[in-house]
């Protein structure tokens, strides 16, 4: 308690510390040690702005955590897997085949056939404008990607005598379909053939399983095949 000789009558209005309090009330409270009811700030109503602000934030937090929480499953890495049902199946995302093909091409094919698809003269045949790529049906091309081809092979009027790498055990049906689709429909190279589905690849993969042990295809073998794969 302060010394009672101090001057409680000095105007509290001048004092910025007694902002918003009726004059005289503080001094009463200060003098009476049993006075517990505290007039002033502690009874000041909570600001409406503050309530709205907090309510908005908490609503947003609840929405965001639910929407992008992936169902709180430990194995869901994709925040867009919305809701528990989607989360539990953990279904792989459907990729754009053209984009997937572009990636597969960059990782596997571009090393020899070059990023521009023109190949290297005398060593690797071009894919841009190649009659093997642009055949009406993909039967030959799928076989080449699966089990490779043994030269000499004529492409766009030039002959290439080289051996390709087989991709049967490295790429799956979806990847092979995607990369063939990408190469056949790559407009920048002037290629405008039809796309290929993973099912077509799967069918040929199953059909040529026994043949794969014999190594790469020869040009004669491939040319003996029809353009379009006959329906089984």
């Amino acid at each position: 308690m302060n010394s009672p000789t101090s001057t409680p009558s000095s105007s509290p209005g001048n004092d910025p510390r007694s902002r918003g309090r009726p004059a005289g009330v503080k001094d009463l409270a200060a003098r009476d040690p049993l006075e517990h009811v505290e007039p002033g700030e502690s009874q000041r109503p909570i600001s409406l702005m503050l309530v709205i602000f907090l309510a908005t934030l908490f609503s947003w937090a609840g929405y965001y955590a639910h929407r992008y929480g992936g169902g709180y499953e430990p194995l869901i890495y994709n925040e867009n897997a919305y809701g528990l049902a989607a989360a539990k199946t953990n279904a792989a995302e459907k990729l754009d085949p053209y984009a997937l093909g572009q990636r597969v091409f960059g990782n596997t094919c571009a090393r020899c056939h070059q990023p521009d698809g023109l190949g290297l003269p005398g060593q690797y045949p071009p894919l841009a404008g190649s009659e093997w790529v642009l055949a009406p049906g993909p039967a030959r091309m799928i076989r080449i990607v699966l089990d490779a081809v043994q030269g000499p092979i004529p492409v766009k009027g030039a002959t290439f005598d080289n051996v390709m790498t087989p991709w049967r055990d490295t790429l799956n049906d979806e990847q092979i379909a995607a990369v063939i689709t990408f190469v056949r429909t790559q407009k920048e190279w002037g290629n405008t053939a039809s796309p290929v589905t993973p099912e077509e690849v799967a069918a040929i993969r199953a059909k040529t399983k026994a043949r794969s042990a014999a190594g790469p295809w020869t040009v004669a073998e491939l040319q003996a095949l029809p353009d379009q794969e006959p329906n089984p």
């Binding site: 302060n2 001057t7 509290p12 004092d15 200060a30 700030e41 502690s42």
Partner: protein, 82 residues
């Protein structure tokens, strides 16, 4: 793995427990009442109001005279009689 279990127990039971206890202690202490008094508790009774207590060395502080203010309502601990 055992470390993770310790972590689980700590994060789910011990730490929130401590936080709740701290909150309860604060409530009982009356920390959430008398807020305006508490805001004033850093000032001394004789401290001039509205006058800065810091200046560049050799400089003058704010020229405006300190208004007299009512005594600080908080009781101060006394120096132990020595």
């Amino acid at each position: 793995m055992s470390v993770l279990w310790i972590l689980f127990v700590c994060s789910l039971v011990v730490l929130p427990g401590i936080a709740l206890l701290a909150f309860r202690w604060a409530m009982r202490q009356g920390e959430f009442r008398h807020l305006e008094k508490t805001a004033l508790s850093i000032f001394d009774d004789d401290e001039p109001v509205g006058q800065t207590t810091d200046c560049f060395p050799g400089g003058q502080r704010g020229k405006k005279p300190a208004p007299t203010r009512p005594p600080n309502p908080i009781s101060r601990p006394r120096l132990p009689e020595a």
